[in-house]
Each structure stands twice: as C-alpha cells, then as structure tokens.
C-alpha cells in the first residue's frame, strides 16, 4: 500500500528581512571587473548611443572604455589636470575641461575608425610620435579652472562652469561665448543641462546654492540653498524636480513650486559625491566617500538597496537599462558591475553539453518519445532510508535512537535526531528507548541535550526528553558518580539558560517602557 514515510527533518528557517523586488533587482549584479588607474577618478560619463562607451576622467588623463570588453579603447593624456569629460548626446563628440582655464572638444567616431585601421601594426608608434588626437575646438575665455563642461541638448552649444564662479555657453561652430553669467559666489563644481529643454541649465556651487538659469533671458530663474557645498546635481527629465547632494545629505527640490524642498535623505555618513538616475528614472543612485552606493526608490524616496565598494567613491555612471554600474574611486579603481545574465533554455543546454558524455545516463525524454500505443511502466526506485529510518521501520526504538545519536547525525543534523525523538514520543516508545542506557550512551545523550536545549526549535522536545530521563534514572542518581556528574552538568546548562532568558526579559521590559514613553511624547 503506501510506502514507509521517513522522518520529517525540520528545515531551519532563516530569519531576516524579506527582500523587496527592487532590492532584488539591485542585488542582481555580477562580481565587478576592476581596472586600476593612476589617480582618483573624478568624473564618469556614459554615452547613450549604442556601443555605450564610458569616459572616465582622472588626474591628467581621459580614458574611453568599451563597456562590454571593459578595456580602454582610447586614451588622452594631457600636461595638466582634466575635468568632467563628457559625451555629446549623439556620442560623436566629447568635451573636457582643464585646469588652465580652457575647455576642449574632441571627436570620437572618426578617430576611432582610424584607430581600428592602424591598431594592429602601428599603435605604439602612433601614440608615441603622432599626437593624432587633436582637439576640434578650444574655448579659453574662463578665468579659472573649468570643472564642469557639458553639451547642451541642441548639440551645438557647450556649457562650461569654472572656479571663477562664471557659467559660459560656447557656440561649437564659432568657438565664441554666447552667454556669460556670474551666477555664484564661489567655485562652481557641478552642473547639468536639461534633457528636454535647449535653454535650461543647472549649476551647483560651493557657496551652498543650486541655481537654475534660463539662457534665453540670461538670468537665474531659481535659487535654492542646499546648506552645504554642492557636490553634484541632477535634473529630472521634465525639469520640474532637481536633486542636489552635498555634505552627507541628498535633497530633492520642486522647481514648479519655486524651489520647495520635497525630501531630504540623510543615509550616507560621509560626503555624497555623485548622483545618477537609473534606467527609466525609477531609482536614484548616490555614491559617497563612505564607500557605499545607495539606491532610492523615487516613488517614495525609500532606501531600497546598498552596494559596497572597496574605497571612497568619487564618481558613478549607469549604463542604459541598468546593464552595468560604472564606479570610479578615489584610489584610481574603476569598477564595472554587470547585470547577471539569466539562464535561458539555450544557455542551459550549452552548459549541459559542456559537462560531457555520461555513459550511465538514460535516454532523455527528448530523445525517446513514446507513442500512444506504448504501455509505459515507470521505473520505481526504492527510497534510500537513513539508518534510523530503517530501525524505525523495524520498530527497533532503542536502536533507532542510538543511530540518531551517532556522531555524524547528532553533530551535523541535530534536527534529524530531534525528529527521531519526536517520532518515538509519537509512537509512545520513548520511555523504552531511553531506559537502560549505558553510562557512555547516556553521556552522549545528555551532552546532546546540553548543547541543543537552548535552540528554540528543539527546546520543547528536549525538555520532554529530559523529564523522561529524570523519571527513568531517578533511582540511579546518587549511586553512580558518573551519572550524577552528567545530571549536574545538565542542570547547570539549564540554569544558565534560565538566567539568560531572565536577562532578556528584563531588557525587553526596559525597552518597552522606553518605546511607550516615546509614543506618548509624539502623540
């Protein structure tokens, strides 16, 4: 009829928070690929166009990386520090700001074509002898180092911000300054251009303010005070909300309400250096000197996930569709973290093929298909019974308990031992199984109880077992020193456990009074 049912071994449930969908989404990245560069990587920009090049600016170099191969495909080195290397929207041009008060624009695409042509034979000679990477334009009207340099949405203008507290807009065709505005009172270290408007730019400065400027009227249309030197700013695509970071806080501002503070997030414990939107603007990522990237859900500003990095993070970039996270750190590490590739059927199939030929394998169901007239007999496999299950099947209670208390079982899977004990209790044969034990096996049993009785999953069963043991061996206590010793030790363990529980209850009581008091105050 029915087959023998084996002991149910308790699965240990793991306590812990239940991860939300978005948390899972941001945990779903592979181990990072890390490239070591010379200086702290202070800016990263990601091209929105298909090959998705990544430009990283560090010290006097600007490197362009292929985001798939994770290798530098092009590098620019200068005699001075470069800042804010960023792509134009179409990925064809790149602008870089320099310490010596100017900004330059470099081409990407044509140059690369040539690179491909000569790469194999003449790469070394190329880079050494011919500095082929000549700038297309050079803007040098600023009076201080240019820290921010971005293309406007219309592709023909470049916004630059400098330590001279000025914002300038250059025309790409003529290299002339179209607009000049002294917007701030201190270094401007962050800026961004609107994605939807040709005329809106946003600048954040060390004078703690974030200003929005309309280039048409050449004046500041909105000013908000962040409260600390602004390190980075972002504008939502609709340009009605602005995110700024500085110090250890991130603030979100409503532009339409004239710069109303919507939300402040203080989750970093050191300066927040960089901000980025995820794909679809669903999440906001922030990186800080505290070596964390924090992900916020922009629907409710909840912290969704935290990613850890080995050193202080200066810059952050997100590839389209969140395919990869590019993170630049202060000690020159550039880390690429790719999203995990999920197994498709084909992928699994190829994996299986890799495992090689297995001579013992049965024909798989895909190879052999039965026809309608075939009489199918399923192969019955006898379930493998564990040693204590075998004894239980034969109704050998004592032997089953002994098997369950064997070294391997009781140490590796105490829950199986507990399962056998529970089954014997259920069968009503536990007394018989526990009676007449030798001194040695009694010692093993009591040590097992000692070790596991404090586990809340086992406490109930082991308390019952101890009670039965006491009932059975009450007459032997006082006769044999060894048995006495065992029971004394068991008592000690239980006393300690009770002491521990009492302490815990005291702490809970104290905490509860505090919580209640707190609630009353808030009410």
């Amino acid at each position: 009829m029915s087959s023998f049912k084996q002991i149910q071994v308790l699965k240990q449930s793991k306590p812990g928070q239940v991860l939300s969908d978005s948390a899972l989404y941001w945990k779903d990245y592979e181990f990072p690929t890390v490239i070591n560069e010379y200086g702290g990587i202070n800016h990263i920009d990601v091209s929105e166009v298909k090959p998705n090049f990544v430009v990283a600016t560090h010290a006097s170099r600007v490197h362009i990386y292929d985001s798939h191969k994770k290798t530098a495909i092009k590098s620019f080195s200068f005699s001075e520090n470069a800042y804010s290397g960023s792509f134009r929207r179409d990925g064809k041009l790149m602008c870089v700001g320099f310490e010596s008060n100017h900004a330059k624009v470099y081409p990407i695409m044509e140059d690369q074509q040539k690179d491909f042509d000569f790469e194999n034979e003449t790469e070394s000679t190329n880079s050494a002898t011919k500095p082929k990477k000549r700038p297309l334009r050079k803007f040098d009207d600023h009076l201080g180092p240019v820290h921010v340099c971005k293309f406007m949405r219309n592709l023909y203008h470049v916004m630059t911000c400098s330590d001279d507290a000025h914002v300038r807009i250059f025309d790409l065709a003529t290299s002339n300054t179209i607009m000049k505005l002294k917007a701030h009172k201190d270094y401007i270290r962050s800026g961004c251009t609107s994605v939807t408007s040709d005329d809106l730019i946003l600048t954040g400065s060390y004078d703690h303010t974030v200003k929005m400027t309309d280039t048409r009227i050449n004046s500041v249309v909105m000013t908000v005070d962040h409260g600390e030197p602004v390190e980075n700013i972002l504008m939502f695509p609709s340009s009605n909300m602005v995110v700024s970071c500085g110090g250890n806080s991130i603030k979100i501002w409503d532009v339409l309400k004239g710069g109303n503070l919507i939300h402040t997030m203080i989750n970093h414990h050191k300066t927040v250096t960089s901000l980025a939107f995820s794909h679809n603007y669903k999440y906001l990522l922030s990186a800080g000197l505290d070596r964390h990237i924090k992900v916020f859900d922009l629907a409710n500003y909840d912290l969704v996930s935290t990613l850890d990095y080995p050193s202080a993070i200066l810059s952050l970039g997100v590839l389209p569709e969140d395919k990869s996270l590019v993170v630049g750190m202060s000690d020159g590490l550039l880390s690429f973290k790719d999203r995990k590739k999920h197994d498709t059927e084909a992928f699994r199939e190829s994996n299986r093929a890799k495992k090689g030929y297995n001579p013992y394998k049965y024909a798989s169901s895909s190879v052999f298909t039965s026809s309608a007239t075939d009489h199918i007999i399923t192969h019955e496999t006898k379930p493998h019974l564990r040693s204590f299950d075998k004894q239980l099947k034969k109704f050998n209670s004592t032997k089953a308990l002994d098997e369950a208390l064997s070294l391997k079982t009781r140490v590796n899977t105490p829950q199986a031992t507990i399962g056998v004990m529970q089954e014997l209790i259920r069968r009503g044969t536990i007394k018989a199984a526990l009676a007449g034990k030798s001194e040695k096996s009694l010692g093993i049993l009591i040590k097992f109880i000692q070790r596991n009785i404090s586990n809340p999953n086992f406490t109930a069963t082991l308390t019952d077992i101890s009670n039965i043991l006491l009932d059975l061996y009450i007459n032997d206590i006082g006769k044999y020193a060894a048995i006495d010793d065992l029971f004394v030790r068991l008592k000690k363990t239980i006393d300690m456990e009770i002491q521990y529980q009492t302490n815990l209850f005291q702490i809970i009581g104290t905490l509860e009074t505090i919580f209640v008091a707190q609630n009353n105050v808030t009410k």
Binding site: V18, H342, G428, A460
Partner: protein, 830 residues
C-alpha cells in the same frame, strides 16, 4: 460481510441494509441492492443484512439474509431481486459448505419458550423458481453454547461436525450424528476467531495475544472433562489435541482465512498488516501499511486473490503475490475502535472534527479520513477520489488497544475563495509531552489535481489549540483564532527567489497581525465590506467585536456587540447580506445590522468623520445549533441546523433545518422548513452543496442544493428533497434512492466492464449508431441479421436467454451470410 463470486469477477460487500456489488477488475461499483420491507410494522424501512452467501445451485445468484428473517434471492449480474421469502428462524450467521447452507439462529416463535436457544440449522433449497416454499430448515444441532459476541463457527468439508468458540477460551467440536459427542478444549488465551482447514481436520484459531493456535487431531482425542475416569487408557493417550502456534501479531488476531486448497492461511489484525502463512512450513509473508486495521479476510475460490475489508470500510483485493490489485473505497469512517466507547457515544464527539467541507474544483466533500489524512469523497459517484496525506506520519498501531496512541489529527481546515489554497491545522496532544501543532498551507494545482505543501508554521499560536480558520473572501489573507486569546492574520507574499532558478517566483505565507480582546478566547470570524471599507467581526466568548482593516492591513478596534449573558457563548458568526451579522449563541440567535454614518462633511482638511452604527434588530431563542451555512446561491439566506432531544426516546434526536431570510430593510424571517429523526450517535455534521442537475435560479429554494450529513456511523447521507418541500416528518435512513440509481448503475456496468472481443464489437456498433458515421468498411459489412442477434444478446437478461446452441448457429451463419451472397451474385453475373 465480504463475499467473492465463483469466478472472482464480482465482490459483494454488505454494509447496513445495502449490498454493494463491485466489479473486481474495474474497481467500480456495479449495483447497490437493498431489500425494502413492505409490511406495515416496519414502515418501508430497508432491512439490515445479517449475512450473505452464494446460491450453491446457481452460480449467478446470491442470497441475502436480513434481520427480520427475510431471505432474498438476487441475480447479481443483472441486479434483480428474484424472490424474497420469510423464514421461521432468526438467523445470526450463515456458513456455506459445498452445496449446503448452514445457519445459526433461533426459532422465531419459540422466543417465549424456555428453550429459545441458538441452534444450528441446515437450509434446504429447492432450485425450482416456481416453488413457493423454497427454503426449508432442518435442525442439526440444538442448544449451541456459542459465544454470541463473536459468532465464530465453522463446519468441516464432509459436513460431519461443527466447530465453534464457546465463552472466552473454549473451542468446541460438535459432531452432527450424535448429540453426545461434544468435545471442549480449553485454551490458555482468549480466542477471537476461527477458521477450518478445507481438506484436513485442523482448526486455526486466533487469540487476543496475537498467537494463532492450530489444533490437530481433535476428533480422535477424548473430551477432557468427561469420562476420563471411566474409559480406558486408549483415550488417555491422546486426550489432548495436538497444538501448534504461529506467532507474529502483537495485537489480537481479528480474522483468519484459508485458501481453497488450504496451503495458505491469511491472518490480519489491528496492525494493518496482512500476513500470509505457508501453512505447512510456517513461513510468512507480509503486506504492511494497508492503511487501516483489518476487520475481515475472505479468499477467493480460484486462489487468485483475497479480499481484505478494513475498519474504515475500505476493501482491498490482494493478489497471490501480495500486491494490491484493486481498492474499493467510498466514504471512510475513521473509527479504529481504539477510541473510548463512552466518548463515541458522547453527543458532541465526532470522527470528523473538521466537519464536512465542500471542495468546488473537484465537486467533492473533504473531511477527515484515515489518521492524518483528508479524504476527498465525491458524493455524486459515491467514490473516494483520493486521500491526501497531511501529517506525513506512519500510522502506528498502539501496543495495547486500551491505551491508544495520540495521533496527530487534523483539526481545522479552510479553502480560500477560489479553492486554490488549502489550510490545515494538525495537532497532537497526549497531555504528557509538549503538544505539536502545525499550520500548513497547501497549494492546489488544477492541471494535475495535486496539492503541494507551500508553507509550514509550527506552533502558530504558541502551544495552544487553533479553533477557527477563515480566509478573507477575494483576498489571500487568512485569519486564525487560537486559544491563546488572540487572532492572527497571515498573508501571501512573494518570496526571494533562490539562487538556482531566479525566474521562478515563489510565494509564501507569512504572519501579519495579532490582536486580542480582554483576555477572552476568540471563537469565530466573519468579514464585511461596508462602504468600500473592510471590516472583520470576531467573536470572543459571549461578545462579538468589530474591527476595521486599515490599508496597511493592521486592525483597529471599532465596536463590541454585547447582547447575551456571559454564560451563553457565541458559536458562529455569519454574514447575511453584507450589512447584517447573524450571531449564533448557544441558545439564542441575534441579527445585528450595521449602518454607515458620515458625521461631518464640512471640514475638508480634517477629513470626513465617520462612524459605524451597530444595532441588534432581531433576536430569537433556539436550541442546540449544530451548524450554520449560507446557501451557495444566495447571500441573504442562511440555513440553520438545530438538534433537539426527543422526549420519548433518549437514543433518538430530532434534527431541524431552519432558514433565515432578510429582504430589504425588513425584519428577518425565520422558519423551520424541514425536520427528521435520527439515532443519537455523536455530533452530526452537515454540508450544503450545489445541485448541478437543476439549473440555478435566482430565487433560492432548497431544491437547488443537496444537504449531506454524516454522523459517527461512517455513512454519508443525503437529506431527501421530497421531504424538504413537503415539510413532513420522514425517515431517511436510506443513503441512496435505489430506484433512481439502479438503472443508472446498470449503465455504469456497461461502461466499466473489462474489454472483451464481444464488448468491442458492441462498442463499435453502438458508437457508429450514435455518431451516425458511415464508415466505408463497416457499411459494407453491415449485416442486419447479425446486428439483431447482437442486440438480442445485449439486451436479454442471462436467465431469459435461450440455450446458447439454438441461436449460436444462427449468429455464426449470419456472419458469413454477406460473403456468400456476393459470391452468388458474382457467379450469376458470370
């Protein structure tokens, strides 16, 4: 009572008044036969079957012996009652040897005389149907001192003596020829059952200690007590019969059976193990874990298998290789006779603690089955669909039947609104060790009809019992009431996918909220939706409380509804119509009405201030309420099942079915619409299931539902509909309308018969006729004469059929006919 037909194609099993005829090969029930007494006294009751045996003169006929000493002769192949006649003996048991039938019983009219003793009679059967006095009896042995509780006796193959158990320990051999030759042998252990070897003079007796004692050589040995002194040495030499012992059982042996040749002895007992003894050598073979204790064993006449009947009404056919060939089971009765007898007779004791539940997806009833199992019973086909193992533990028979083991029992069960989730609570409490309580969530997969365990919660309400489970309608939220004084809610959440297959999203049930009220025990839960807000009503002893479910699923207390005195606890809560709550106290029914009031709408900023007005609008005193059910079709109608004791007879109860209806804004109307009388046997469980055969009307009427009930007899019964509408007192001991189902079952027979060549021909003919398909080949070979012959074979009952020889030739010729005709034509043409 179990019997196999001569050719082992049919299995007969009598339970109560019904004789079930099963087909051994298909496992389907073929007929349910029962005899209705038409005499005035018995009031058209069906009469209980005492014993049954095959007609020794006709292989296709069967006798049933009824309690009122009526004998019926059945044709089991056609399910027809051929004859019924009355006998002057009150028959206790029948034994069938070769061509004669022996009966143990007492004379009917001699009941007032002094010698109303049990005697052995031989029944003489006249084989001709025309003769009216078919059966006559002949006294063989009078004054049998047989133990009436066990009624164990056997007659040897040569019809020379009868062996029976007297008292507790005596085996008696009584020779037919001379009344004096009675031999009594004392056994040391109490004897339970007896089987006589078909060929040799040897008797196997089972004992309470589990030993099987086999007695030899008892004919020639002397009676121990009598004449020992007067007779010579010769008798003294073998004054004791030879005994040998077979011992495997640890509990009493309940049934023994020899095979026809006597080479194998089967024995069974409470261990749920069938033991096969090779009789000569004593070697044994086992069939363990048959599921339920064995109550009787019968081996077939052709040695192919033996039929084993269990205490839960299951019958197994077990082949000679100890493999289960076929299982017959209908509604299971989990009475394993280990429970206390007083408890069984208690008014509130039931074998089905979870009650009867209706499972929509399979259109069946779910209730407790074997220990730790749920049985899924289809009432429409009277068949057990399957047993679902909930606790996953082996059933271990107790070491001593008087000290039963505490088994893990399923105590509560709930299905969610679309029957995709099943929740069970199992508990084991032996009142010595810590009780084990588990809350299990099962997911139903309708593609393969399987339940799979999804979440297991140990000790959901610490170590206390759970009294109620209820799903929130249209939402995956479960509420549980526990005896720890709080009610908890559990919700379904998406689980973190494991690292292996991340595409698969898993769902799990997790604990959500916990609330309590005044240190009282919650007993029932009901859900409301008033003005798009969710409310939950929870009863605490005599108080019903109302809670509001907030958006974050936390509960806030709204109101308490107190109407009755403290000593009248609430049994059930039932929603009527979404704004009325029926509160069922032990002795009182109350209906509360909820009204949603908006107090202040002026101030926009502070929000709308709302309140819920609660009012008790109706109250009625009532007796013992057994169950409250909403009718499946109509929300505003509630059926109430009430139990009353009959003053005239303590052992009978009257069950009344009442209905409460609330039409718009009027007083609820309450009336009893049906009542019937029932033997008192524990708690009666009810279930209301929709009747599919009648098209559902908007109007609610009892016509639209079946009401099924079960008590501790282990039979599920249906409240008859005619009685429901007529509002008459009636008897409904019958579980099936026989006239209705008999011919339906006949159709099933045609379906369930094993495939034979003839059956195949009939089948193709029939299906062609039905489909109207004109297959070229069949059309060509169609032959009217042959078909008519087939029809004749098909429709004529076997006993009306002419001799095979007379129509066989015609039939065979008809098969050749067409070919001949063609040839003839061809010859003509040429």
């Amino acid at each position: 009572m179990l019997l196999l037909s001569h050719d082992s194609k049919y299995l007969f099993s009598a339970s109560g008044s019904v004789l079930n005829v099963y087909s051994a090969t298909s496992g389907e029930i073929v007929y349910r036969l029962s005899y209705t007494d038409n005499s005035e006294e018995s009031n058209n009751n069906e009469v209980k079957i005492v014993s049954l045996c095959l007609n020794p003169y006709n292989k296709y006929q069967l006798f049933t012996f009824h309690l009122n000493s009526v004998i019926c002769l059945w044709d089991y192949e056609d399910g027809l009652l051929l004859k019924s006649f009355e006998l002057k003996i009150k028959i206790k048991k029948i034994y069938n040897v070769k061509n004669s039938i022996y009966a143990i019983g007492e004379l009917k009219k001699s009941s007032k005389n002094e010698n109303d003793s049990i005697s052995l009679y031989k029944l003489q059967i006249d084989n001709s149907i025309k003769n009216k006095n078919l059966i006559e009896h002949e006294l063989i042995v009078s004054n049998l001192s047989i133990n009436l509780d066990k009624l164990q006796f056997a007659i040897d193959q040569n019809e020379k003596y009868v062996a029976y158990i007297e008292g507790r320990r005596k085996l008696v051999i009584n020779q037919f020829k001379s009344n004096n030759s009675v031999k009594k042998f004392q056994s040391k252990i109490e004897l339970t059952c007896l089987a006589l070897h078909p060929n040799e003079d040897c008797i196997a007796t089972g004992t309470t200690s589990g030993k099987i004692i086999i007695w030899y050589n008892y004919i020639n040995c002397a009676h121990i007590n009598s004449e020992e002194d007067s007779n010579g040495k010769k008798r003294n030499l073998n004054s004791k019969p030879t005994e040998s012992v077979l011992h495997w059982h640890s509990l009493p042996v309940v049934s023994l059976s020899f095979t026809t040749e006597g080479s194998i002895l089967y024995s069974g007992g409470h261990e749920c193990v069938l033991v096969k003894w090779l009789f000569k050598t004593g070697q044994k073979d086992f069939k363990p874990r048959l599921g339920a204790p064995i109550s009787s064993i019968t081996s077939s006449l052709d040695n192919t298998f033996c039929a084993v009947k269990h205490l839960d009404n299951t019958i197994h056919l077990i082949g000679a290789n100890m493999k289960v060939v076929q299982t017959f089971s209908s509604f299971l009765c989990p009475n394993f006779k280990t429970t206390n007898k007083d408890l069984v007779n208690n008014m509130d004791f039931t074998f089905y603690p979870i009650g009867l539940n209706y499972f929509k997806k399979l259109n069946c009833i779910v209730t407790n089955g074997r220990p730790g199992h749920l049985q899924f019973y289809s009432y429409s086909s009277d068949k057990l669909l399957f047993n679902l193992d909930i606790v996953n533990e082996n059933y271990i028979s107790p070491e001593n039947l008087n000290k039963p083991n505490a088994h893990t029992e399923i105590e509560c069960l709930a299905f969610n609104h679309d029957s995709t989730w099943l929740v069970t609570v199992e508990r084991r409490n032996d009142s010595v060790t810590t009780p084990e309580i588990k809350l299990k969530f099962w997911c139903y997969d309708s593609t393969n009809n399987k339940f799979s365990l999804n979440t297991l919660v140990r000790h959901p309400h610490s170590y206390d019992k759970i009294t109620k489970l209820k799903f929130k309608p249209n939402e995956n939220t479960l509420f549980t009431c526990g005896e720890d004084g709080c009610f908890k809610s559990w919700t379904l959440v998406k689980n973190r996918p494991s690292s292996i297959d991340q595409n698969q999203i898993k769902y799990n049930w997790v604990y959500s909220t916990c609330n309590g009220y005044r240190d009282m025990y919650p007993s029932d839960i009901e859900f409301f939706e008033i003005n798009n807000k969710d409310y939950v009503a929870v009863s605490f002893e005599h108080i019903a409380t109302l809670w509001k479910i907030d958006y974050d699923k936390s509960l806030s207390f709204v109101d308490d509804l107190i109407h009755c005195a403290k000593d009248d606890p609430i049994k059930y809560l039932k929603k009527i119509d979404n704004s009325n709550l029926l509160v069922v106290h032990n002795e009182c029914l109350n209906v509360w009405c909820f009204k949603h009031n908006v107090l202040d709408e002026n101030d926009l900023l502070s929000g709308v201030e709302e309140s819920l007005e609660t009012r008790c609008i109706w109250s009625q005193e009532v007796k013992d309420v057994l169950k409250v059910e909403t009718s499946p079709s109509n929300d505003s109608n509630v059926l109430i099942f009430v139990r009353e004791h009959l003053k005239s007879d303590e052992s009978l109860i009257k069950i009344k079915i009442g209905s409460i209806e609330i039409s718009n804004n009027s007083e609820p109307s309450f009336k009893y619409c049906h009542e019937f009388v029932q033997d008192l046997n524990g708690l009666v469980n009810f279930v209301v299931v929709p009747n599919d055969s009648i098209k559902r009307n908007e109007e609610f009427s009892l016509e639209n539902v079946h009401i099924l009930y079960a008590d501790n007899f282990g039979i599920i019964k249906k409240v008859k509909k005619s009685s429901l509408s007529n509002e008459n007192l009636l008897q409904n001991n019958a579980d099936v309308d026989l006239n209705e189902t008999m011919w339906e079952n006949r159709k099933i027979l045609a379906k369930n018969l094993p495939e034979s060549n003839l059956a195949r021909i009939i089948d193709t003919n029939k299906s062609n006729r039905i489909n109207g398909e004109k297959d070229q080949f069949i059309e060509e070979n169609r032959n009217g004469f042959f078909e008519s012959n087939l029809n004749r074979i098909e429709t004529t009952p076997a006993y009306l059929m002419p001799k095979i020889g007379t129509f066989c030739y015609d039939t065979l010729r008809s098969m050749l006919f067409k070919l001949d005709e063609k040839k003839y034509e061809m010859q003509n043409g040429l």
